[in-house]
Subunit: 77 residues, 2 copies
């Protein structure tokens, strides 16, 4: 199965959701992207439809915005 991608920015809400998602779908099924470490992927996330973090992009391209940590505008600020 293609992996899901979990985008986040290291905020407490993000980290908590990351643990929950890994527990639910398995670390092997999700790629974790931290914008603070990998800012070059912000554009990719926005093209996928990510409006805020944390967000999970599923293998079929749907975006699940999970709780609310920060907007993408905040991430880029």
């Amino acid at each position: 199965m293609k992996k899901s991608v979990f985008y986040h920015a290291g905020c407490p809400v993000c980290v908590s959701a990351e643990q929950d998602i890994i527990n639910l779908i398995g670390a092997e099924n999700v790629e974790v992207v931290h914008f603070g470490e990998d800012g070059g992927r912000i554009e990719e996330a926005e093209k996928a439809g990510v409006k805020s973090v944390p967000a999970l992009v599923t293998p079929n391209g749907n975006v699940l915005h999970i709780n609310f940590g920060a907007s993408m505008a905040d991430v880029k600020a």
Copy 2:
């Protein structure tokens, strides 16, 4: 593993998220509760911390609000 519980109210955002969650974590790992069919469980969801639907309550009790379909106030209206 204890099941997660996915609460929703039948809105398009809810149904789309339901399919994504089932694909990601497996139908056998999630109990789906539709408030339109099972309004008696609204109180349980609110006690768990659900503020809007769709929402997933994980086996360890964390609440993941996924995208936004409707507030619990809307659900009860």
